[in-house]
């Protein structure tokens, strides 16, 4: 077994005639934490969405654990359980309780018994520190709590990789840290993570590698230390100056 969790080779993606991703090359090793940042519209969410096949890619290859991912719907379904995804808008199922949100995937796609699924769900609810809310509806929770439930929901599938698409962008400022705390713990446990975020503090603390994207390209890719201390490109320096100014 190789040490590579995800590998993107010359990935290209078009939305009609808009060239959204241009020759993306990226290697993520097992246990590695990668943060992707960049201005909005730069394609960072699209990279993540191509990896778990919410978007089709038009050329290039995506390897998960050395296996090639295609756009074929059947193979897509089989692979999606291996890749956890946390959305900006949480996307909890509003008609189901927190517990039902968590056990649906394991019961329906991994054929687990309800008892086993509940056991796993409680374990992860504990990790995100919301065990006492298991029987509530998502709408009864705060944004931060909802996002932590969403993280637990992904973890219940016991994924090999976790993707985060701006997980704190829709949250009130005082709730951001409770979500980031959970993500830091997850990182410390050795989960492979790709995180699209503007939280540079989090990136500094957790990331092994930071990617800066602009206009569908990876402009800069560096180890976290180097990225913040000595950004090579002018574009990246400007971006960092702007978001670190305050």
């Amino acid at each position: 077994m190789s040490n590579t969790a995800i590998e993107l080779k010359n990935l290209n993606k078009w939305f009609d005639d808009f060239h959204a991703l241009k020759n993306i090359n990226l290697t993520v090793n097992k246990g590695e934490k990668v943060v992707i940042c960049g201005p909005s519209g730069s394609g960072k969410s699209t990279v993540v969405r191509c990896i778990n096949k919410l978007e089709k890619h038009q050329s290039g290859t995506i390897l998960l654990d050395g296996k090639k991912l295609t756009n074929n719907p059947k193979s897509v379904t089989s692979v999606q359980g291996d890749i956890g995804m946390v959305f900006q808008q949480f996307n909890l199922f509003p008609h189901l309780t927190v517990m039902e949100n968590l056990i649906l995937g394991p019961m329906k796609t991994q054929r687990q018994s309800r008892q086993k699924a509940v056991e796993i769900a409680l374990h992860y609810l504990e990790r995100v520190r919301i065990t006492d809310q298991a029987q509530k509806m998502p709408s009864q929770l705060s944004g931060g709590q909802q996002q932590r439930v969403a993280i637990a929901r992904s973890l219940c599938m016991e994924p090999k990789v976790m993707l985060f698409d701006e997980p704190t962008s829709a949250l009130d400022p005082e709730m951001i840290s409770e979500v980031l705390d959970v993500m830091v713990e997850l990182a410390n446990d050795g989960m492979t993570m790709i995180v699209v975020t503007h939280e540079m503090g989090f990136a500094r603390k957790v990331a092994d590698k930071v990617l800066f994207m602009d206009q569908g390209q990876i402009v800069e890719q560096a180890l976290t230390e180097d990225f913040f201390n000595s950004p090579k490109t002018q574009r990246c320096q400007t971006f960092l100056n702007q978001i670190l100014k305050h």
């Binding site: 089989s78 995804m85 996307n91 199922f93």
Partner: protein, 250 residues
Amino acid sequence: MKKICLSLFALLGLCSCSSDIWGWYVINPTTPSGWINIKFLVSGMGNTILISVTAAVISISLGLIVALPGQSSKRAWRIVNRVYVELIRSIPLLPMLFWVFYGLPIIFKSMGLNIPIDPFWGAVITLAISDSAFTAEIYRSGIQSIARGQAEAAQTIGLSYAQSMRYIILPQAIRRILPPLANQFIYIVKMSAFASVIGMQELTRRANELVVTEYRPLELYSLLILEYLVLVLIISAGVRWLERRMGSDE
């Protein structure tokens, strides 16, 4: 029931006492012949309800079957859905009823099938198919009203398309589309009157038959309209109850 009829009759009498065009004796519940006529007219109610409910049940299932290809990412499936909806929606009910009742058996026979179509099934099939185009559109708007993120979240926990529909999308959509679906049921009840044309013994047919023997169309059709009014009011009350109930657990 006799009391209700009596009070209604009294009311109508008041409205028409100054005029000599009315002949309410034909449905006067105090006379034996009038009472027999009323019972004859109202006895069509059972069939009207039976046709409507059967057609509605079929239409609700058929509508979903028609709506789902419309959500497909494959163009061919979406075209199938569009063609069905546009075609069925544009056929007036009465010609379709004639086609099903008089035409369809000929097709069946040419295929070597011996499937007789009686007035009941003729009416039910026509109403159901005709209505399914509208039901399908209601499903479509309901499904589309569910945020895209829901289907995406379902995908990311590994649910297949069918599972995502079954556990995530439809349970949420159904709350939004029940009121318009119920509305559509009222439409079916009213359109079931066309079944009288192919000899189905329902409310309108009963009224027609009595008009032929009694020569009092004004009074008999007035009562007929009243019968539909009562039926629809009952359904409307049911729909409002349903809306309140569903609104409360949001």
